[in-house]
């Protein structure tokens, strides 16, 4: 704080150019969250937060977002590697495909999933004929979350891979390592930090997914009603429950962010021993 004032007071250092605009954004980001916590504090908070509806939603949210993260790691890591290192025709189109879900509204994602994998959908009709029905299932929730959040992981991992000095790989290849070994023992450890950043983004985005879920997976307690859906319905009936759930989701997100940051710091120490 004192440093802030000192910066303001020095004439030839126009610190306010940075401080005042930032303040606007800080207030916009901070005030609503503060208001939410302010309103949540009360004797009903725990009865609202620990109600069966909110606990069921919390559990489902944690299970589905964790599954999403695992799917993103398993499928996104190799894809990120391909995008970072291989050169092939149609690579631009593939990059566009991976980036698109990030900018698309979730409602478009949900509709697209429904049109593709719905019971009467373009591919869903065939799936249905072999006995697989996806809409209104927990799998559909994971699919919706993966669609909107896995590209964030791919993006982060791709940048992580791209940042690695190619000479290191070349050296390993010269020493007789194959591409898998280069990936496993050189690329993956060196990109660890980018991975974790991608993980944070993917996990929190999956946790907050609403639009695609309600369209593709619907809303059923214990099966497809994740926390954001429970908050929306709580908002309609009982604002107290919605606020309590929102604060819980905020706390879960803060814990996740904090945990990831710690891991990130530790991995930095590991990969860059001083």
């Amino acid at each position: 704080m004192r440093r802030l004032f000192r910066r303001l007071s020095i004439n030839n250092n126009p610190g306010w150019v940075f401080i005042f605009p930032s303040l606007g954004l800080i207030l916009l980001l901070g005030l609503p969250l503060l208001a939410l916590v302010w309103r949540a504090i009360g004797k009903d908070f725990f009865s609202n937060a620990l109600s069966p509806t909110s606990l069921t939603a919390l559990k489902l949210s944690l299970v589905t977002s964790t599954s999403t993260v695992l799917v993103a790691i398993a499928t996104g890591t190799p894809l990120a590697y391909i995008l970072a290192r291989w050169k092939f025709r149609g690579k631009n189109a593939l990059e566009l495909l991976v980036d698109l879900p990030v900018v698309l509204p979730p409602s478009v994602a949900g509709l697209a999933l429904l049109i593709a994998f719905g019971r009467t959908g373009v591919f869903g009709a065939w799936l249905n004929s072999i006995g697989i029905t996806l809409p209104f299932t927990t799998v559909a929730v994971v699919m919706a979350q993966t669609f909107v959040s896995a590209p964030l992981f791919v993006g982060a991992a791709r940048e992580g891979f791209a940042a690695i000095d190619e000479q290191i790989e070349e050296a390993a290849l010269v020493e007789g390592a194959n591409e898998w070994q280069v990936f496993r023992f050189i690329m993956a450890p060196l990109a660890g930090r980018a991975f974790l950043a991608g993980l944070i983004l993917t996990w929190t985005r999956a946790l907050g997914e609403f639009g695609a879920t309600i369209l593709f997976a619907g809303n059923l307690i214990g099966k497809t009603q994740t926390m954001p859906l429970a908050i929306y319905l709580g908002f309609e009936t009982n604002l107290g429950v919605a606020i309590a759930l929102s604060v819980m989701l905020m706390v879960v997100s803060i814990v996740l962010l904090g945990l990831m940051r710690r891991l990130e710091r530790r991995s930095n120490v590991d990969t860059h021993p001083e």
């Binding site: 997976a217 619907g218 809303n219 059923l220 309609e236």
Partner: protein, 291 residues
Amino acid sequence: MKKFTLLVFLFAAILLASCGPAATATPAPTAVPPTATMVPPTDTPVPSTATPAPRTLTVFAAASLTGSFTEIGKDFEAANPGVTANFNFAGAQVLSTQIIQGAAADVFASANHTYMDNLVTANLVAQGTPKDFVTNVLEVILPPNNPANLQTLQDLAKPGLKLILEDKSVPAGTYSLQILDNLSKDATYGADFKTKVLANVASYETDVKGVVAKVQLGEGDAGIVYVTDAIAAPTLKTIVIPTNFNVVAKYPIAALTKAPQPDLASAFVAYVLSADGQAIMKKWGFTTVTP
């Protein structure tokens, strides 16, 4: 530096883009005050055909009123030059919460009395002003090809069916549960009818439009919605719910006490209750209150 300018520009574009839809939902600041009064009088006489200052009327209406109110809105705009009628269609429960939390609306039309009463309690609607303007009943809808081959109401209890209902916070959802209660009291359906039917529910949607869309796409085998929703989606098959089991939904409408455009608000309410307005409501399948 060039990069910085580009960034600022991009940020501004994002801001603009994200403000767009929000502004249509609660267009309070865009509601232009009657500027005509501020214009200094000119010597030349103003011709009578001069267009009045543009004004915006904001109506919050239950999702089941989407088709009918859109048409009424066009007529209302035609009858009142310079007026733009903006609608926010959603579940009545969402709208009522939005109004209580300070959304600037002129008129509220609900699909049940509960959410209107909430506004009366909050002094946002004057006591005694809400008027019932239509009633509606419910119906079972089926996808055009009727994949589960449902013929009667009893079939709703068939195991393995995918039924789509509204959440109980949505008026139509409460009505659906009441209908299932009514059916369960009847010996032909059996006391466990409701339990069996509810075991088939695949999703509780947040408004009737969600139910219609999912049944229309064939994702659900059946849904319970208003008769008017079924009329608006003519490709759907229907199963009629007999009057003795059905629920009559009464729709109240009222101008809000904090309406930014109070005169337009009461004019719109009057138009909905007028013979012209009622004729449009009837066309969309509602039962009018004043025959």
